[in-house]
Assembly symmetry: C2
Homo-oligomer: 301 residues x 2
């Protein structure tokens, strides 16, 4: 009786059983070729190191080039080391930042050295033929077109000729104040609940969590307004945030992600649109963007 | 800089500031009348009591009458008392059950007294003019029509003349094995991640969490397959599950929910479809079913 709900809706880590049933995601992955996978670029991968373990974030320089560059600069000057996760709001986001960022006494704040404190927003970018796009055929409530671009869920509007990253579970963005140019990456958040798509094009998204999401999503919820922790000791200390390329190779997390521009990926989407597993009585026939798994696995040595 | 992302996407508990900005959800709630709210029926409210606090579940007898009756019978025979939350799978569900349910030695299992061990599925029900329905105009990827029925997010298919509860964050359902009639309510789950809509019409949903969701969603994720806890000591003990009507009135959680069939609720949906708060740069113009807040508040004494 405990083997209910047999297949996770969003399994980030994928283990293939020995003989997976044809038509399942496990079968698609088992039959995938090495060329169906891409190694995460260490120059565009962040490690958020917590006492509980490592959260791996893939950055999206194609969509937020200035924010990605700034976040890497912040990591390289060790801006976040010793700062903390300050907020955990149920069904919404966790957020990490300098807890003293609003202190009137500037000497209490973490100094920014080489990076920029704020940046112009990168809420969307011009549609560009160089950006890969695998369209999802099933439609979307919020955008005219949705699909995948180099492993990221994205939306497009052919009329305004814009494209943008969307707020699916695990999306990472740069918090900001009311002014659209008041963010820049010093405060980052990750989505921990149902996709808050109303935030699309309101915050600069710059990446997504590809491993260790459970270290963020299972944090106690803050009891202050907006889920901020009310006491300093409730905050979750950040040991370090590093660009993977700066970490000795032996200490890196060698990950590869399923490409999203291949027939294998299209088969994966179909395997989730119409579930062939015997447990499923009603096949949805459709799939919503944020329910499409984006598999990541340990790279074979 | 810490006041980012000002309004929760899904605030279950709603506090209205003194002078909320017109057009915001806070303003809609501040101007609501007592008749815009309905008191939760103690006969159709469950309290899941954990060491960390109480989780309040509103049951949906209009959609799953047999499962609701059986779950109440199980609560009344104290079936779950001393059992446990056995599973927490990231971005999916938590599940509570008898950890010994699959023990070959039947004497190890929690006995079922007056309730039924299994029931025929109640995946959907016939469209019935007596069921209230407030249609959401924004469409849906999975269903022809979606909206709200007595406080529950629901879908409808006018062609097959069926309606069903949907898997939004906090939805509570009856786990089952492969056979559709193998559930019955002894094992329940609650959705803790992005809405797994592929489960719609595959599991009998019977209610939703209206308070205390964070007690479930922040539980450590299980490290076994499907997020099951691997060690007995990792499970989260259930002190008791009670029908609210059976709890002394002084110990009840007096809650009321915003009705979903009123002009006030339509204004609330509009306040979330197009956010007037100054922080929002791009108004979505649309809202997806599971992003519509369903406010619940403490009933004034």
């Amino acid at each position: 009786m405990l083997t209910h709900l047999l297949v996770s809706a969003l399994a980030l880590a994928v283990d293939s059983p020995a003989s997976p049933q044809p038509g399942t995601m496990a079968a698609v992955l088992a039959s995938s070729k090495p060329a169906d996978w891409r190694t995460l670029d260490p120059e565009n991968t962040l490690y958020l190191e917590l006492a509980a373990g490592r959260v791996v974030i893939e950055l999206a320089p194609a969509y937020a080039p200035n924010h990605v560059a700034n976040v890497k600069a912040l990591a390289r000057e060790k801006y976040w080391d010793g700062l903390a996760i300050v907020r955990s709001q149920d069904n919404y986001v966790v957020q990490w930042a300098d807890p003293e960022a609003e202190n009137a006494d500037a000497s209490k704040k973490r100094a920014i050295k080489t990076a920029k404190p704020t940046l112009p927003a990168e809420f969307d970018r011009a549609l560009d033929s160089k950006l890969p796009f695998t369209k999802l055929a099933d439609g979307d409530v919020y955008a005219r077109e949705v699909g995948f671009s180099d492993g990221f869920p994205v939306a497009r509007d052919p009329r305004s000729k814009k494209t943008w990253l969307v707020h699916c579970y695990g999306a990472v963005g740069a918090g900001r104040d009311t002014a659209t140019d008041s963010g820049g990456g010093t405060e980052l958040y990750a989505v921990t609940g149902h996709s808050p798509r109303q935030l699309d094009r309101n915050v600069t998204l710059l990446g997504r969590v590809v491993q260790g999401m459970e270290l963020l999503s299972s944090l106690p919820r803050g009891t202050g307004p907006l889920g901020f922790y009310e006491k300093a000791e409730q905050r979750v200390p950040i040991k370090a945030i590093r660009v993977a390329a700066d970490v000795p190779e032996s200490e890196r997390s060698p990950l590869e992600a399923l490409r999203t521009d291949t027939p294998a990926f299209r088969r994966l989407v179909e395997s989730r649109r119409n579930r062939v597993e015997g447990w499923f009585h009603a096949k949805a026939g459709k799939i919503e963007l944020c329910n499409v798994p984006l598999p990541v696995r340990r790279k074979a040595p």
